[in-house]
């Protein structure tokens, strides 16, 4: 039997209090390198030990002293309030979402792979943890201009990422191209307190995006975590665009491709936008049912405080972004 008592990690080199979607999370590790990655990835949330507000969750990562190679072996499963995530043959991450604890182990080789932590491991761990800490992951891109957040919601392949990059090149700050996280302070879930948050992950663009964005010509497509062939590029590096960390949601735009060329934006009822966004949320039961209800509330509050529209488009992403930008400018 190979046994690991998590008490081993009481020798942890580092305990940091960091913010995920505005919620304080403890990140503990015996690796100075991982501690640095986490500090670079998430904003600090005050002193780890003495802060008066308890952390909402704890993530502990123990780097083992072995020479396991980190070949890809992504595997994600959950049942009840437990979840298991694995990215390579050299790691495993366990979740007890009732106690809001995550415990993971990995090899030194995986620890060295900074890009994988930024692009896949941190966002997946935090996304799974969302259910336990009252954060609502929504399948929508988010951009910010003049402090006003715009959610772009659409099915995979609807053009969210391409339109996001095109809007960011027009001066919008980029918060997310795929998954955004709604959150509010623990004791205040109302319209005013709900914010959309992002993570500093790469944007994922399908291979045909190189026809629109010449910056991609020097990049390579690769197999992403969900098996898609895509460019995964950090937008601040590839497109020199600005990132934003969080914003209030002022507009919700549902994206729809249309057959005829051109673009058009029409108002939709908040209920239509609400139904769309809530349908993409994973229903949760048992001890997570309360968290699921909070997630639904967060989405409802965000949508109720926003103008809701559907954007129909069939145009070059630059022209579609221009049309969407003009329509949004006319509303502010």
């Amino acid at each position: 039997m190979v046994a690991t008592a998590i008490a081993e990690t009481t020798l942890a080199l580092s305990t940091q209090r960091l913010l995920f979607a505005g919620q304080p999370v403890l990140f503990r590790t015996n690796s100075a390198q991982l501690a640095m990655y986490a500090r670079d990835y998430l904003p600090e949330g005050g002193d780890a030990i003495s802060h008066s507000t308890p952390a909402r969750a704890a993530i502990t990562v123990h780097v083992r002293d072995n020479d396991e190679r980190c070949e890809d072996a992504a595997h994600f499963r959950a049942r009840g309030h437990f979840a298991y995530a694995r990215f390579t043959v050299a790691d495993s991450f366990w979740f007890n979402l009732r106690t809001r604890e995550v415990f993971g182990t990995c090899s030194p080789e995986l620890t060295d792979d900074h890009r994988r932590w930024r692009a896949h491991i941190f966002p997946a761990l935090l996304g799974i943890l969302s259910a336990g800490i009252g954060v609502a992951p929504i399948h929508a891109a988010c951009l910010v201009r003049d402090g006003r957040g715009v959610l772009l919601a659409g099915r995979s392949g609807a053009g969210k990422s391409t339109l996001t990059v095109a809007l960011a090149r027009r001066g919008y700050e980029l918060l997310s191209d795929d998954w955004s996280y709604l959150s509010a302070p623990e004791d205040a879930v109302d319209r005013e307190s709900v914010q959309a948050w992002g993570l500093p992950v790469p944007v994922k663009l399908l291979p045909d995006a190189s026809g629109f964005f010449p910056e991609l010509c020097t990049c390579q497509v690769a197999v992403s975590l969900n098996g898609e062939i895509a460019y995964e590029v950090f937008p601040e590096e590839c497109f020199a665009v600005e990132r934003s960390l969080h914003c209030p949601v002022m507009n919700v735009v549902l994206l729809s491709r249309r057959a005829e060329p051109g673009c058009a934006m029409l108002p939709v009822s908040p209920n239509e936008a609400l139904d769309y966004l809530q349908a993409e949320l994973e229903p949760l039961e048992g001890v997570l049912a309360c968290g699921y209800r909070k997630q639904l509330d967060l989405i409802r509050h965000a949508v109720e405080s926003a103008s809701c529209h559907r954007f129909f488009f069939n145009d070059h992403p630059g022209k579609a972004a221009e049309a969407l930008d003009e329509a949004l400018a006319g509303m502010s």
Binding site: V2, A3, I6, F76, A78, R79, Y84, P283
Partner: protein
């Protein structure tokens, strides 16, 4: 053929909501355990591992486990090791590439995934490891008094 249908909704990316139509209630180490599963193989394996059948699941059980059966992973060898991770609240067992079981000491709830389709021997080994490690922990933990 005792294999589940694969029918995971788009929002069920982690296969959390697989239906578990079968349930067995057992006596094990002096406590009642309800095992809900989508595979009769799992219930047969529990009996072979020393869980004593106690009739229907309509009665309340002290421990409630859910075990999802999945198609075997072609890369998984038959002689997988069991890696055990324990913290203050939970026991986690990793049993090869795609099999695991997690147990919450405080709530008595457990859940896991097993490659059990027509693989009785694998399911028996899976249940045996759970029985050994969860049993060891239960014997040494104060929560046991709550259940017995």
């Amino acid at each position: 053929m005792d294999c589940p249908e694969i029918n995971n909704a788009p929002t069920d990316m982690m296969h959390r909501r697989t239906l578990l139509p079968f349930c067995g209630r057992f006596l094990w180490l002096g406590v009642s355990v309800a095992i809900q599963t989508d595979s009769q193989t799992v219930l047969r394996a529990a009996e072979k591992t020393g869980f004593l059948p106690q009739g229907s699941c309509k009665s309340e059980s002290q421990l409630r486990w859910e075990i999802v059966s999945e198609l075997p992973d072609a890369t998984q060898p038959d002689d997988w090791p069991c890696k055990v991770t324990v913290d203050n609240h939970s026991l986690f067992l990793s049993m090869g590439a795609a099999q695991w079981f997690a147990f919450d000491f405080e709530s008595g709830e457990g859940a896991g995934f097993v490659s059990a389709c027509d693989r009785d021997a694998n399911a028996v080994k899976y249940l045996f490891e759970i029985s050994c490690h969860v049993g060891d922990c239960l014997r040494s933990r104060p929560e046991r008094s709550r259940w017995s």
